[in-house]
Amino acid sequence: MRLEERWQAPFKALIRLGKNEGVTTLPRDTFRDALSVALTVGAYGVAFGAAGIAAGFTVLQTCLFSLLTFTGASQFAAVGVMAAGGGALSAVAAATMLGTRNALYGLQMAPLVRVKGVRRVAAAHLTIDESTGVALAQTPRGTRSMRYGFWLTGSGVFLFWNIFTLLGALGAKALGNPASWGLDAAVPAAFLGLLWPRLTNTYLRVVAATSMAFAMLMTPWLPAGVPIIASVLVAVAFGWRER
């Protein structure tokens, strides 16, 4: 949601002015946007590869997560809950709830990509923060650039994310004991790194701090992993009424 919001706002204003509607430029700028995002984000795959191994998954399983689940925060959540000693149900629930935003992205991308059958399945699989964000950022360059941005960013992130997951998993496997190399701290640091750019105002920082306090309070009372799922109640409580 963060990329979408950051990029959408200025372009929406431009479209409203009617100045850039229908303008089509060569997709070279789109290509550059897509590739730089794909490479940077794809490189985070190393952290996921290491997290998967640290949680006790095999190299094959860790790589399959990146190929088949292919939505970063959900993947980190699934292996994170298992690493914390949580149950399978908590792991799957946390990952799925983190993935629900992709449905909202799909809703926005469907009229843009307009594909059916196998191509729709492919488009759905590539619908993530980054592909949606780059596509929306291309709005002033026209529909063709938006579509191009979506496919190129989606497939680019897919390629690099999977390559780097494999490298991270193999690397972590070679290192051995996760604590000895700080991998057990790399995982919460990665979560903090994913959380940080979303905390764009005081209200959202209060939600984050409350969620952390709530998770800590619930820890002694609930089975391992369940406080993570229960933290959704904080989101519901804050989002229930209009601010």
Binding site: M1, A43, A47, A55, G56, F57, Q61, L64, F65, T69, F70, T71, A73, F76, A77, A78, G86, A88, A91, V92, A94, A95, T96, L98, G99, T100, N102, A103, Y105, G106, L107, M109, A110, V121, A124, H125, T127, S180, W181, G182, D184, A185, P188, A189, A190, G193, L195, V207, S211, M212, A215, T219, G225, I228, S231, V232, V234, A235, G239, E242
Partner: protein
């Protein structure tokens, strides 16, 4: 974690996360337009990621445990305040944590 559990988690997560993505391409736009649903949905990643930081950095099973991981997390926090890039944050947190682990 048993072998079966790990495969179940992998399979179920993959199927459900893909289903949710595909859902976006099939449901009519109005269905998710409810303002309350959108407000809550925007906050869900923040709550879950916050709880995951706690669960991974401060918890072992069902206990709050202060150990080498917290040192790594503190360094990560400082670096994020200093606007360091993601890979730097993760690597420095890992190195700090490993140092404390071995010195302890």
């Amino acid at each position: 974690m048993s072998t079966i559990t790990s495969w179940v988690v992998l399979g179920a997560t993959s199927v459900l996360c893909f289903s949710v993505k595909l859902l976006g391409y099939y449901i009519p736009e109005g269905w998710l337009a409810h303002p309350r649903l959108q407000r809550v949905n925007a906050l869900v990643p923040i709550s879950l990621l916050s709880a995951l930081v706690v669960a991974e950095g401060l918890v072992i099973k069902t206990r709050i445990v202060i150990d080498h991981r917290l040192a790594g997390l503190a360094v990560a926090l400082a670096l994020l305040f200093a606007k360091a890039p993601f890979p730097v944050v993760v690597v420095c947190a890992a190195v700090t944590s490993a140092l404390v682990y071995h010195l302890h």
